[in-house]
């Protein structure tokens, strides 16, 4: 118990520079390398208009078309069919010339597991588009696509995604997959859905005239406002709720909307019945996606797009159980805040997390903290936070597959810009100002009279339109997608890369020599996550020794295993056999030494390092004894 390392504050200062992939297969060169930031970077080779949302038919066509243009970089497959029979298309991006997609560490990206969160689709498509079109132009992307694989599933919940884009909906529905569910407990399933009563293509709020109502029309007649004084004279309204009819005649409207389980509570890790009824992986769309992830153990990290709120949520390793009083918790929080304040004096993007992980998970929390700190810098007003389990996709990606998992909450209503009085919330007036100026008035539904079959004469309006709060308005989409693409690419650029730094030979005695080898990983991520080690999914890195016939390995006596011929401050591991297994952490150099016997005056030794996720490297040196 005492020996446990306390991981109190993990803080990361700004990383000085992006560590670019350091090796390029020399045989290939980029066709149209562009070095000027102001130059042409290939996007117009396959132009896509990013200021609108696409239906399922449209975005799958874009996927297929772009794959046809870049067949050497991309493949498309359907990983299965959704409940309503739509194919779930997944695009695999990697340079086929540098190896198969399964032989490289992979980034999984899925968008829009919640039907209404379709800006996740846009971000996924934007990543796909950036990787493919810029491959020939950008060194950075060229290296990424050569060394990593990207599995991109733009729409996960395709049925609800398509419904959200094509039909009148509130910003919040349809969210779930289309398994029938009895929300109101009346024995009927999905029988009372929302309807666009006034036929304007938007789902707004219904009001009805009622002398006892709490609302009145605002002076500009654009919205309903609460009556402050009940005695005030004038026409009163009562809020009824979102547009719709009473389909089953039970006295309620819209009380049993389409859809059942939340797909993001449907994954097996930390699943529970309460949140994830009826059972884990019950939905075809989630099951197909998860089965694909299971069959691709090379998936090293995963991004899951959601909205809203501008958050970088990262899955933390299992926490250490600790009993803290509220006072202790407060004190810990204060210490954390103080620490952060200090850090922010020199780096305004500094982050700190109070996470106490179980023993053996230190590397994971360390690496993730560094990545999200950079994420906060790239995504600017996004806030990194830790996230939990309860059957969420990211929880299973990390908890069951050992992949570093991120849940990105995209966008967020323009609270950052529209909040004029800086009180932390955007009032209706502020919102309307934002809509009038930046959206040039197109984001608002003005109250109007409609005849309703169940209610008689009602009023509809006084709300924002669909694409104003959870999904950005058309002209903001690209801004959002670009930043997020940069973050995913940064994360992939930190996938491990094993290298042999140096091999040196120093004489010991007679014909015995010390051979030392330094193996390093300069990236933030270790060659396999702590979690994948615990899950026994990880394959250890291997250092293989080979030599000419006259050179042989000598077993070092047990008592002398910590022999260090050169420098006592450096830790060496001894090599005793042909193959040595180890695991390289992030930003780590491991030194090994072997004792060899050389018969004759010349020969060679070679070291080959192979890592499941970090590639391979080898170094051969010739030895001549004079």
């Amino acid at each position: 118990m005492k020996s446990r390392i306390q991981f109190k504050y993990i803080s990361v200062l700004a990383l000085s520079a992006l560590l670019l992939a350091s090796f390029v297969t020399p045989a290939m060169a980029q066709k149209k390398l562009q070095k000027s930031p102001g130059g042409y970077h290939g996007e117009l080779d396959f132009p896509i208009s990013w200021n609108r949302y696409y239906s399922y038919a449209e975005w799958t066509k874009i996927m297929h078309d772009i794959q046809k243009k870049y067949p050497h970089l991309a493949d498309i497959e359907s990983i299965g069919k959704s409940r309503m029979g739509r194919s779930q298309y997944l695009i695999t991006i990697t340079a086929k010339s540098t190896g198969g997609h399964k032989d490289k560490p992979a980034m999984w990206v899925d968008g829009a597991i919640h039907g209404n969160e379709v800006n996740g689709i846009t971000c996924s498509l934007y990543l796909m588009w950036s990787l493919l079109t810029r491959y020939d132009y950008d060194k950075y992307i060229y290296d990424l696509v050569n060394n990593c694989t990207f599995y991109i599933l733009p729409g996960l919940n395709v049925d609800a995604n398509d419904s959200f884009v094509r039909f009148p909906n509130t910003p919040h529905n349809p969210r779930e997959s289309f398994r029938p569910e009895d929300n109101d407990g009346d024995g009927l399933y999905d029988e009372d859905r929302t309807e666009d009563v006034d036929g304007d293509g938007e789902l707004s709020i219904m009001y009805i005239q009622d002398p006892k109502g709490e609302y009145k029309l605002s002076p500009d007649k654009r919205r309903f406002v609460r009556v402050s004084d009940i005695k005030e004279e004038g026409v009163r309204f009562r809020r009824i709720g979102p547009e719709g009819y009473d389909n089953d005649g039970d006295g309620f409207i819209n009380e049993d909307d389409i859809g059942g389980p939340d797909p993001n509570r449907n994954y097996p890790f930390d699943w529970n019945l309460r949140a994830g009824n009826p059972y884990p992986m019950s939905e075809p769309c989630t099951r197909n996606a998860y089965e694909f992830m299971l069959k691709h153990p090379n998936i090293f990290a995963s991004f899951h797009y959601h909205n809203t709120g501008r958050l970088i949520m990262f899955t933390t390793p299992p926490r250490r159980e600790q009993k803290q009083t509220t006072e202790q918790k407060q004190q810990a929080q204060e210490r954390l805040n103080q620490y952060l304040e200090e850090q922010r004096k020199t780096n305004k993007y500094a982050q700190a997390f109070d996470v106490q992980v179980r023993p053996g998970y230190e590397e994971d929390i360390n690496a993730q903290a560094q990545i999200v700190t950079m994420g906060a810098r790239i995504l600017k007003n996004y806030r990194p936070v830790t996230s939990g389990g309860v059957g969420q996709t990211a929880a299973s990606s990390y908890g069951m597959l050992g992949a570093y998992a991120f849940l990105i909450e995209l966008w967020g209503s323009p609270a950052f810009d529209a909040d004029e009085d800086n009180d932390g919330r955007v009032s209706d007036e502020e919102y309307l100002k934002w809509i009038d100026t930046e959206l040039t008035g197109e984001g608002w539904i003005v109250p109007h009279k409609v005849n309703h079959p169940d209610l008689g004469e009602i009023w509809i309006g006084g709300t924002r339109k669909k694409h104003t709060q959870r999904t950005p308005p058309a002209r903001y989409i690209e801004m959002e997608a670009l930043k997020n693409t940069q973050f995913v690419m940064y994360c992939a650029s930190q996938f491990p890369k094993v290298e042999i730094e140096e091999v040196t030979v120093t004489p010991a005695t007679h014909n015995l020599f010390w051979v030392e080898v330094a193996v390093k990983n300069e990236r933030i991520y270790p060659t396999s996550s702590d979690r994948s080690m615990k899950l026994k999914r990880a394959v250890k890195d291997k250092l293989t020794f080979s030599s000419s016939k006259n050179i042989s390995l000598v077993k070092i006596p047990g008592a002398a295993t910590k022999i260090n011929p050169k420098n006592t401050s450096v830790q060496y591991e001894t090599i005793t056999g042909k193959v040595t297994e180890f695991r390289l952490k992030g930003k780590q150099t491991l030194r090994f030494c072997a004792l060899v016997k050389i018969d004759g005056s010349s020969g060679w030794v070679e070291f080959h390092v192979k890592s499941q996720n970090g590639g391979s490297d080898s170094k051969k040196i010739k030895i001549k004894i004079s």
Binding site: F167, M206, I240, S396
Partner: protein
Amino acid sequence: MKFQSKKRFRLVLTVFMGFILIGALGFSAQKIPISFNDYHGFTGTVKYIKAVSKAYPSITRLVEIGKSNMERPIFVLVISNMKTGTTIDAHVKLRNMRREGVKNVPPMKPYQGKPGHWICGSMHGNEHTGTEVCLYIIDKLVTGYGTDSEIKQLIDNKTFYICPVVNPDGVYNSVEKGLSQRRNSMMKDDDGDGRVNEDGRDDLNRDGFFTRFRYKDSKGRYVIDDVDPRLMVRLGRDKKTEKQRYSVIAEDKDNDGDGKRGEDSEQGIDINRNFPEGWFTDDDMAGGTGDYPTSSPEAQAVVEFFTNHRNILMAQFYHTSGGFTFRPLGTAPHDKLHPKDVAIFDMIMGKKYLEIIGEEVPEAWQKPELLDKFKAELKKSSKNKYAISRGYELPRGWKVSYNEARDRRYSYGMATDWAYLQYGIYSITTELWNSRKDIKGMPELKGEDARVKLERALLKYQDEKFGGKLFVPWKKFDHPDLGQGEIGGWIPKYRSNALPGSPLLNVCEMHWQFELFRAGLMPAIEISDAKARVLYTTNSARGAVVSQKVDQVTIKKGKSKGKYRVVEVTATIENKGKLATHVARGTQLAGNREDVVWLIGDPDKVTYLQGTPFQKIGILEGIIKIPGYSAKVAPAPQQEQRSPYMGRMWRFMSQYYPRPRRPQQRPVPTQVKGKGPKRTVKWLVAIEDNAPLKIVVTSQKGGTKVKNLSIQ
């Protein structure tokens, strides 16, 4: 002429006799013969249930609920009168539907409106006695429909979902192929050599059975039995012997030349560890089998079927062998069970089960009123804290798989626990067949070499009854890897399953009786005294109301003429079944809802003055008193697993959802009085013209009933 008339007379006689016969047999004209002289296996079972579903279309439906990894279908035979039963969606007319028109809700089947009883066999492929019992039960039900009034009652009012083979690949290999296979089949590379299923078991002597291979081995653990030389006796670890030692292995060779035998076979995962209850270990690692809960197509098929058939209240998952029943729980300690369900499981079902298999019923179950006394006594004598809290130790024949003595769970991801804890089903697992008890004259399991004695007796029994055909005599064989030896042994499918013929029939009959008893416990909802009384007529539907309080509406008395008739509708809703419409934790479970009563009429012509079209009426209790349980004594049920959609969320959202009918006021809820198994309900409605009305009571597990009202 004479001849002709004789012929005619014969014809008339035949027709007459035919009528008598049909009359006597009811409708079961073409009986599907079935015998239990050998196992049906997968092929025989499918053939039989297909024939049954064809011969009895009015009381059976064959449903394919999934496919195994080897593409073999998993069938459920639904047994219920297809002409009776109704569901709520047949009565509520939906209008003004969303134009998008996503058709994701299939219409419910009439049999889903009756309490359901699931019986399945062979989740473990080599435990196919369960399949035979399922077939026996099918036979009893379909042939008994025309002759037995109790069975007719059940088939008319309840639904049986019988899935004789949950694990088609395992059963096919175990019975048809002669290779004992507990798990499902999977295409996978166990030994990581890049090839799939390349080194499974082998039938070396090609006799059609995968038996045993024995060879002389100075380090072997077996010797030949003195009494019966066919029998191999396993020695204790340090036991010394003068006799020739043998090694006994499976009939198998190394097919891929890696020095190992049978290391990459078709065997996949254990389906009964692949269910979503208690699948993870306490430190969040996989405890059950498969990549995730329900990863196997078989487990998913079962879980999906249960999800879509929420009317299932009873479930039996047959396994083999042991001759006892596991009631929940195995993955968690006893105190996760509600005390009311404990009483129902033990005092009602367990008691009956012990009586049927002929074992002694614990004293505490016979005198439940003295439970406190038994508890006090146990406190002195027992160390089992769960037994002390119950008041009795569980007997051999009716137990839990959780290890109460060591306070340790038995395993992970088991179906029975899942069905009870998550879906609120009285689910049990009966381990069928106990050769010592189910064959008459078997020796007692006592003494040092009790097992050997039993083995000898079993060999002798199969000599006498089966002419020795169940055991392959040892014959010399030259093993490619191990050299000289002999192949022989029990034919695997007979090894641990009920022996065909009378022992199997005996097992079938006992367990049919038990399931018949359990089916008889299920709830039965009825609507009685439904009345619609016209109070008076009026010109304005709304004008009738004088005052309205929280739950009371006062209407104008007297007579005025008009086209609206103000009608008082009353009815009594009753559960006449033995058990309640839910398990004790009832609607705390996600997916379980309260019982509901609807008053349905043309929405354009019916105005609800008091009451709402649908009203929740709680859970209708059963008519029997649960022995050994009283609500006062029992601790409060655990608050957990309430669905956000159906419980908390709905209560919150119901305030938010608009109510169209009377904008000015909240509608007065339907008047519901009474508790326990009975409710009386009352509405006041104003009806235009002669619009018809009907009452529909719908309970998830208690069934759906309709009553059309005639307005007086």
